[in-house]
């Protein structure tokens, strides 16, 4: 048995983490480098939601349209903590230290932890309660019922924000905290480290092998002694927790909005997994990077045509590379197989 630290997946994820670490240190030089920092923040977000989805979709083979509900819960938790609980605290603190100030690191850490705890609690509660009912379904039926889950929670949250938001309506705008892009970058980075290593260690653990068995043949897995139902609930909850992290990260940066619950978010996670290739750990990462690069390059070159070209690209990829990038690479370059865990 190869040591965990010498396995290709671990090495690749460490390389990615180091890349973001170096980018963070080199980033704060001038305006152009800070643009790359902001790109890096977006990229971490995309890889993060891709890996969160991977646990339920790529590892366990259950396609969920509703993982965006957890991203939404995460962003709502942040909105709740920053706006509904602590808005007046932040404003009075900033007024005390004068203009141009920023909130202290202790305060930031407290709000961050509070958001994490709130998001984890709600996510686990929803994943276990709803998962207990809907994880008995399979295939497209499970996928559609998660749409229902997503929209039920979304409209309930909409009702809460409508009645309790200090701005009226559905908005929960973060109070200005004087934070820079670099702060947001390091907050993303913390969550990124957690996400990528959790996703990897799940993949190579006994739990991960159980999920793989469920993906290949659920009935056979059950006969072989895998407690499939419990494993599926764990996977659903874990995937939800990781997805909610990214809602938190983005809401600190861009404020809570109802958009985090929208179906498009789930579909982006799904596209990343399918483009990369189902069943692997590297697949969703490659898929996320490709998705992000495509979206970003189209956005900067073709402007308003982005959605049209992106849609056409997805159609072409699905038609010609149904196995995903990882499947294609494995077929074409058998030597790479060892590296494509």
């Amino acid at each position: 048995m190869v040591s965990v630290f010498r396995r290709p997946g671990f090495i690749i994820s460490t390389i990615i983490v180091l890349f973001f670490l170096v980018l963070g240190y080199l980033g704060n030089i001038n305006a152009i480098s800070r643009m790359y920092v902001s790109n890096g923040t977006d990229l971490m977000y995309y890889i993060g939601i891709g890996l969160a989805m991977a646990i339920i979709m790529s590892y366990a083979g259950y396609v969920s349209f509703g993982q965006a509900v957890f991203v939404g819960i995460g962003s709502f938790s942040t909105g709740y903590v920053l706006v509904l609980m602590n808005r007046s605290n932040i404003i009075s603190y900033l007024a005390k230290i004068g203009s141009g100030g920023r909130i202290s690191n202790t305060m930031l850490a407290v709000y961050f932890t509070e958001s994490l705890l709130l998001a984890i609690t709600i996510s686990v509660f929803i994943a276990v309660v709803v998962g207990y009912a809907v994880l008995r379904l399979r295939g497209a039926f499970f996928a559609i019922s998660t749409i229902g889950l997503d929209y039920v929670v979304m409209y309930l949250v909409k009702y809460i924000t409508k009645t309790r938001s200090p701005f009226g309506g559905e908005e929960l705008l973060n109070p200005s905290m004087g934070l820079t892009d670099m702060t947001f970058y390091w907050m993303h980075f913390i969550l990124f480290i957690i996400t990528i290593y959790v996703a990897y260690f799940v993949k190579i653990s006994k739990f991960g092998y159980g999920l793989a068995a469920i993906r290949e043949d659920e009935d056979a897995a059950e006969i072989m002694g895998v407690n499939t139902f419990r494993y599926k609930i764990y996977a659903f909850a874990l995937s939800g927790i990781l997805a909610s992290f990214w809602g938190i990260a983005e809401a600190f940066r861009k404020s809570y909005s109802i958009g985090y619950f929208k179906l498009d978010k789930s579909i982006i996670m799904l596209v990343e997994n399918v483009v990369g290739g189902i069943g692997s750990f590297i697949g969703p990462i490659i898929g996320s990077i490709i998705y992000y690069l495509l979206e970003w390059s189209f956005l900067t070159t073709v402007g308003q045509w982005t959605l049209v070209i992106l849609g056409a690209t997805v159609v072409v990829v699905v038609a010609f590379f149904p196995e995903g990038i990882v499947g294609l690479l494995k077929k074409r370059f058998p030597r790479l197989r060892k590296w494509l865990e």
């Binding site: 009912a133 039926f141 019922s145 929209y151 039920v152 309930l156 596209v271 399918v274 159609v315 038609a319």
Partner: protein
């Protein structure tokens, strides 16, 4: 906290408005039930196609200052026919490369067709943003151009409920569209072929019918119905914008699941039920978000308790009675 306004008037209004809304939204979902229930393609582009048709017809209606040809009650017929041509385009660009020569749909093909239709959907959504003179939303004045067969006032009062005449007209047209779809699917040889290809494509080719042609027909029928009903949706809601897709599309999924996959009449009744539940909640609580939450909670409950569809039996019962009669 929520305050319930439990009065007779609210309940009557909820039921009447719900039936009108349900009839329209039920007819919107029929295109999805055909392509998903029969061809096993989870068509994520359905909502986009519906909204695309609505946007297009609103644009034409406003450009030509409400000429009779572009009023929703007339336009839904020819935009539906245009939708048939659009369906051929949709099939050959999106579905044919993925499932054109597949005999039985496994989960893998289901997922790749889902992805492909998603790609087509966002491309269609993007088209709204590249058109010249782009407007973020269109509003159609309901009092102009809907006067066919309902001259005079824009509103009628029925059982103390004020109803817009145009919405009644749209719900009646939605019902007629449903009947046409039911007739096409259950009483013609085309419908028979479409249902046959879903069961066994290889057996169909054994008896001398080209399965690809039948798949094209399915996509054409579903797209034509989607575009026709999109115009009805415009006539009902009188204002439309690209982002309304994010409400229409999930509601269609709820209705199709309630109605049972592939059952046209079941879907229509699912639409009526959902419409009534939505409007009752809206009238009783006065909160649109709670009403929509209830609608999607119905989906969750229906999926867990009765994944085959709550109203799927209706079609079987009706056809049985028709045979005996």
């Amino acid at each position: 906290m929520l305050e319930l306004a439990l009065t007779g008037g609210a309940i009557t209004k909820g039921i009447i408005m719900g039936l009108i809304y349900g009839s329209v939204i039920g007819s919107v979902a029929i295109g999805l039930t055909i392509i998903w229930g029969v061809m096993k393609v989870v068509n994520l582009a359905h909502g986009h196609i519906v909204v695309f048709a609505a946007m297009m017809s609103a644009f034409l209606y406003l450009t030509y200052k409400g000429a009779l040809l572009f009023t929703p009650p007339i336009a839904f017929i020819w935009i539906g026919l245009l939708g048939a041509a659009f369906g051929v385009f949709f099939y050959y660009t999106t579905l044919h490369p993925v499932i054109g020569h597949v005999d039985t749909m496994t989960l893998k093909y289901e997922m790749s067709s889902l992805m492909a239709t998603f790609g087509f959907g966002i491309a269609l959504y993007g088209i709204h943003y590249i058109l010249p003179n782009y407007v973020h939303s269109y509003s159609v004045n309901p009092s102009i151009g809907y006067s066919i067969g309902a001259a005079g006032h824009t509103y009628i009062v029925f059982l103390g409920v004020v109803i817009m005449k145009s919405t009644v007209l749209m719900s009646v047209l939605g019902f007629l569209l449903t009947l046409v779809a039911y007739w096409l699917m259950n009483k013609t040889s085309m419908g028979l072929k479409i249902r046959a290809v879903a069961q066994d494509a290889r057996a169909l080719s054994l008896v001398g019918i080209n399965p690809v042609k039948v798949k094209v027909m399915t996509a054409v029928l579903a797209t034509a119905l989607a575009m026709a009903s999109g115009v009805l949706f415009l006539g009902y809601s009188t204002s439309v914008y690209p982002d309304i897709e994010s409400t229409v599309s999930p509601l269609c999924f709820v209705i199709v699941v309630l109605g049972g996959l592939g059952s046209v009449l079941g879907t229509y009744f699912g639409g009526l039920f959902l419409g009534v539940m939505y409007w009752l909640t809206l009238e009783l609580t006065g909160q649109q978000s709670i009403a929509l939450a209830v609608a999607f909670a119905i989906l969750l409950i229906a999926m867990v308790l009765k994944p085959d569809g709550v109203f799927s039996g209706i079609e079987r019962k009706l056809s049985f009675r028709a045979k005996r009669g």
